[in-house]
Amino acid sequence: MIAIIDYGSGNVSSVKNSLDFLGVESKITSKPEEIGAADKIIFPGAFGYAMEQLAEKKLEGPIKNAIKNGKPFLGICLGLQLLFGESEENPGVKGLGIFRGKSKKFSSGKTPQIGWNEIKPTKNGILREGFMYFVNSYYVVPEDKGIVAAESVYGNRKFACAVENGNVMAVQFHAEKSGEFGLDFLRRWVDAR
């Protein structure tokens, strides 16, 4: 069973729809015990008062535990950014701090970035070169460049669009909205390990 963490973010149901379409069993949940019992975890995210919601629903602990216990974990969009320590979007608000680094706002190009951007994997893994759908004004800058798994270019900025470290994979793009190419990626993540 894959737990899709629900903390009031907009794309929860589209992630669920894509897994249903792939015939993969999943459940939208905000219950710590269900997150603890799941085989794999997807941490989606779009817009919202994310950290406040996570605190209110007491989800920080279960998420950190799942990651520490080696459970396969996929962060999507804001679910990537929240794994870092801080963001220019909400100065002073601490992220989950799984990775060192921060989210910065794009300084060139129209914001938000909306549309299909090419991703270039920098490691061997489940990511492939091709177009994914992005909606973001902020991008992550990891301190440890070793975790970068794929890069894209927006405006004059090359940015990390995917990071991977052990059981944790997190992507800036909406794989659940990236057509066949995105579904193929989700399928490979589900099948891995």
């Binding site: 729809n17 129209k110 914001t111 909306i114 951007n117 090419e118 091709g130 909406h174 909205k177």
Partner: protein, 252 residues
Amino acid sequence: MLAKRIIPCLDVKDSRVVKGTNFVELKNAGDPVELGKKYSDEGADELVFLDITASHENRKTVVEMVRKVAKNVFIPFTVGGGINSLEDIETMLKAGADKVSINTAAVKNPELISAASKRFGSQCIVVAIDAKKVSASKWEVFVRGGREPAKLDAIWWAKKAEKLGAGEILLTSMDADGTKKGYDIELTRKISGAVNIPVIASGGAGNPESMAEVLKKGGADAALAASIFHYGKYSIHEVKDFVRKQGIMVRE
């Protein structure tokens, strides 16, 4: 690098697609899911469903349509037409629409743009502008399906919509719409240059050349078209191949 987008627009009445239903290969002509899938398979980057249902009662059925599309089509889609309130927006987003487009209601009540973008995020709030040329380099905004002048300058309104929190502008030239003689390049260039959010150009697409032109010379981030796709004149593939050959980056 971010690709330019090619977006087919589907008119929906009483939850059925009313244009482009003459594809012989379709089993269920007018089925929004089947058409949406077909366009997605052909390489459409997004879809726009425009609800032209006249009666308020029948509008409710469009929610069920949105739900079905979201379960079967995995590219982003926008729903527009008759969106009047925060409740309408929430209903559509919850049913699975990625974005909503607001036209008349945004002009009548600009506060709706700011309230909606604060509550749901700018990324899902598309402000649709129907503009008509009134004199040299001057365009006026029209509402209620182009029937009523809003007495607003189109460039001013686009900037204002951005400031209020719109995530994208869907710009339709009323002069070009339906002519198949090409988009209003000057209008698109002016609006695209005036705002720092993506602009989707609409109205006048007659062939792949016109779509390439509005993306290149018009500075549009996306080109929307209806009839050239619906009547099978050009496939999305053909348009993208042509556009790519003009040196414009589009998704494969």
